[in-house]
C-alpha cells in the first residue's frame, strides 16, 4: 500500500473541493500532470499523452485502491459527466501514514487554485499545452499551438494559443 502516493491524491481532492471544484477524475489527473510540469516538487506518478491529454494509469490504479479501503468515495456526478471524488472515512488513515512536506502542500495548493473552476475540455487543452511546452520542450508559442491543434484537431489554433498563454501566465504568477 503506497500511502505517500495516496497522500498526494487525497490532498489534491481536498484542495479542489476547497476551491469550489466539482472534482472529477479529469481534475485530479490534470492537476497532478500540471504539478509535475511545474517542476517545484517531485511527483510520484508517470504520465502519458493519451486520448484526452496527459493521463496517468498509476493515478487511476491508486484511485481504485483508495476507494477500496474507504480513503475516497466516487459517486456519479449528478450535474454532468463522470464521477465526483471526495475524501472518505479512511482519509485520516492516509494522513496518519504519510505526511506531505510544506513545499508539496504549497505546490498542490497553487495547481488546485488554477484548475478548480475549469471544465474538462479546458483542462484537456491546458494540460496538453503544458505537456507540449514542458515535456516535449517546444518553446515558440506558435509551435505549441500548432502541435496542440495537430493532436486535437477540434481545438482551434486560437484556442490552443489561449491555452498556452494561460498556462504561461499562471506559471509566471506562481513564481511570486
Amino acid at each position: 500500500m503506497q500511502f505517500y502516493k495516496h497522500a498526494y491524491i487525497l490532498r489534491v481532492i481536498q484542495k479542489l473541493h476547497q476551491y469550489g471544484s466539482w472534482t472529477g477524475k479529469t481534475h485530479v489527473h490534470k492537476a497532478l500532470s500540471l504539478l509535475r510540469d511545474l517542476g517545484k516538487v517531485p511527483v510520484p506518478f508517470e504520465f502519458v499523452l493519451y486520448k484526452h491529454g496527459p493521463y496517468s494509469f498509476e493515478v487511476e490504479a491508486e484511485l481504485e485502491q483508495m476507494r477500496s479501503y474507504g480513503a475516497i468515495t466516487m459517486e456519479p456526478n449528478t450535474r454532468g459527466y463522470g464521477v465526483v471524488l471526495k475524501a472518505g472515512e479512511a482519509a485520516s488513515l492516509v494522513e496518519q501514514s504519510a505526511s506531505l512536506s510544506a513545499e508539496v502542500s504549497q505546490a498542490i495548493d497553487q495547481v488546485c487554485r488554477f484548475v478548480s473552476s475549469r471544465s474538462a475540455a479546458e483542462l484537456e487543452r491546458l494540460a496538453t499545452a503544458s505537456w507540449i511546452r514542458y515535456q516535449e520542450r517546444l518553446d515558440d508559442p506558435a509551435e505549441v499551438a500548432r502541435r496542440l491543434h495537430f493532436l486535437k484537431p477540434h481545438v482551434s489554433i486560437v484556442e490552443a494559443e489561449r491555452a498556452d498563454a494561460d498556462v504561461r501566465s499562471w506559471r509566471e504568477g506562481s513564481k511570486e
Partner: protein
C-alpha cells in the same frame, strides 16, 4: 468457378463469411497457429468445456467488428459527427476502412504466447507483450506480404493502429498518437464496453465454460451503437442510443461475473501460477523469445508434450512442477481477501502473506492479487430527445458495477489444512 465468398460455421455467431484475401490470411501460418493456443490457458482444468482456442475467437471478433462498423457508419450520423469524418466516409475510403477493421479483428491476437495471457509479463523480455509481437508479425511475416499484395494494398500500419488497444499501446510506446478517426476504429475492436474483442470473448468463454454469467444481448447492443460528440471535451466517441442501455448493463454485469467466477476463479488462478513456474523452468533463460519467428514454433502443444513427459518421469527435473498441473497436485486456497478485511486494515493481505511465508516457508506459500479495478463504464448515451448524457447518470446499474479485486493465498496441498486453520486464527484477531 472459384468461390469469391467463403463461410465457416461458428457456435456463437452462426455463419461467418470471408473473402479471398481473408481466406489467404486465415490459411497463413500465424493464423493457423492460433488453433493450438487455448483461449483461457488451463482454465479447462476447472471448467472442462473451456478448451476453445484463439483461432475461433479471432474469427468471431472479425464478425462482430464488421457488424459494429456497418451499424455505426451505415446509419445517418449526426451532422456534427459527419462533418468531422466525412472524408473517411467517401465510398472508396469507407470500403478500405471496413476491410481494415475486419482484418484488425481477425489478426489482433496472432502474437499470443502459448496459453494466451497466463503470466505474459513474466515470460517475455521487458518491454514486450503479445500486442507488440502481433505488430511485428503484421509488419514482417507472410501476412505483411499478403496485405501489401492486395489491390488496392492494405497498409499493415493501419491494421496495427486499429488492432492494438491504444490504452495499452501508449504504456509501451508513449509517442503513439492516433487520429480521431483511427481512435474511433480502435474503439470498435478494443473498446471497454462495446469492443468487438470483449463482446466475442464474453459470449464465447461463457458458452464454452458452461456458465450463464457471460450472456447478454449482443444484437440489441450493437444496433444501439452510434458515433457521438462528447459534450464534455468535444471529442468524437462511440456511444449508445438510450434504447440499448439495458443491453449495455447486461454486458457490464456479464463482464463482472465472468471476471469473478471464471477468469479469477481461485483454482484457475493457481493453475496460471503453476504454469508460469513450469514455463520459467522449462524455457531457455526462463523466457519466451521476443523474436516472432522463434515464437511461431511454440504453441500449447509443444508445452503440453514437455509437461506430460516430465509428469510421467519421476526423475525429470520438472517432474514436480508438471505434476502440479497434470496430476491435480496444485496448491490449495487458504485465504481469499474480502472487502471488509481490507476496510478494517488496508495492509492486512500483505501482512498475512508475509507472516504465512515466515511461518510455513516461502516455497510452500503462493499468492495472487489483481486490482482493485473497475473498467471505465462512463460512455455517452443519446436520449430520445437527442440530448447526450453520461451512462453513469442514466443507469444506476452501470454507476454501481463493483470494482474487481482479488487477493488469494495458496498453500502446498499437504500443508493446506494446517495453514488454513492458522489463517483463520489471524483473521479472527483482525
Amino acid at each position: 468457378m472459384a468461390k469469391l465468398i467463403h463461410e465457416v460455421r461458428d457456435g456463437i455467431h452462426g455463419f461467418i463469411l470471408f473473402d479471398q484475401l481473408e481466406k489467404r490470411l486465415i490459411d497463413s501460418a500465424p493464423m493457423q497457429r492460433l488453433r493450438c493456443i487455448h483461449q483461457l490457458a488451463m482454465c479447462y482444468q476447472v471448467y472442462p468445456g473451456a478448451t476453445h482456442k484463439r483461432f475461433e475467437h479471432s474469427l468471431g471478433v472479425m464478425e462482430v467488428a464488421t457488424r459494429i462498423f456497418d451499424q455505426v457508419f451505415d446509419r445517418r450520423l449526426d451532422d456534427a459527427v459527419h462533418r468531422r469524418i466525412k472524408e473517411e466516409l467517401e465510398p472508396d475510403r469507407k470500403g478500405y476502412w471496413r476491410r481494415v477493421v475486419r482484418l484488425a479483428g481477425l489478426l489482433h491476437d496472432i502474437g499470443h504466447l502459448p496459453f494466451s495471457h497466463a503470466a505474459e509479463e513474466a515470460l517475455l523480455p521487458e518491454g514486450w507483450n503479445h500486442e507488440r509481437l502481433t505488430a511485428e508479425m503484421l509488419r514482417q511475416s507472410e501476412i505483411a506480404d499478403i496485405l501489401k499484395g492486395e489491390k488496392p494494398p492494405i497498409d499493415p500500419e493501419d491494421v496495427i493502429d486499429v488492432a492494438w488497444d491504444v490504452k495499452k499501446r501508449v504504456r509501451t510506446q508513449p509517442d503513439t498518437s492516433l487520429s480521431p478517426w483511427k481512435t474511433l476504429l480502435n474503439e470498435i475492436i478494443c473498446g471497454n464496453t462495446f469492443g468487438a474483442d470483449r463482446i466475442d470473448y464474453l459470449l464465447r468463454d461463457s458458452w464454452h465454460a458452461g456458465v450463464a454469467y457471460g450472456r447478454f444481448d449482443p444484437d440489441r447492443l450493437i444496433t444501439g451503437l452510434t458515433a457521438l460528440i462528447d459534450p464534455s471535451n468535444e471529442e468524437i466517441a462511440l456511444g449508445l442510443d438510450i434504447g440499448a442501455i439495458h443491453a449495455a448493463e447486461a454486458l457490464l454485469l456479464a463482464r463482472y461475473f465472468m471476471y469473478t467466477q471464471v477468469y479469477f476463479h481461485d483454482v484457475r488462478r493457481v493453475y496460471d501460477l503453476h504454469l508460469k513456474e513450469f514455463l520459467q523452468a522449462w524455457l531457455p533463460d526462463g523466457k519466451f523469445p521476443s523474436d516472432w519467428q522463434k515464437l511461431m514454433e511454440l504453441t500449447d502443444h509443444e508445452v503440453l508434450v514437455a509437461m506430460r513427459k516430465a509428469a510421467a518421469d519421476a526423475t525429470d527435473r520438472h517432474h514436480e512442477l508438471a505434476s502440479r498441473l497434470l496430476a491435480r497436485k496444485h496448491f490449495r486456497t487458504v485465504y481469499e481477501l474480502v472487502s471488509t478485511h481490507k476496510k478494517k486494515r488496508p495492509t492486512f493481505f500483505q501482512e498475512l502473506l508475509e507472516a504465512a511465508q515466515d511461518e510455513f516457508g516461502e516455497e510452500n506459500i503462493l499468492a495472487d492479487t489483481y486490482g482493485p479495478k473497475s473498467e471505465t463504464n462512463d460512455f455517452l448515451v443519446q436520449t430520445d430527445d437527442g440530448s447526450i448524457e453520461s451512462s453513469l447518470q442514466v443507469s444506476g446499474v452501470i454507476a454501481n458495477v463493483p470494482a474487481v479485486e482479488i487477493g488469494l493465498i495458496f498453500a502446498k496441498p499437504e500443508l493446506a489444512e494446517k495453514v488454513k486453520t492458522w489463517m483463520n486464527t489471524k483473521v479472527k484477531q483482525l
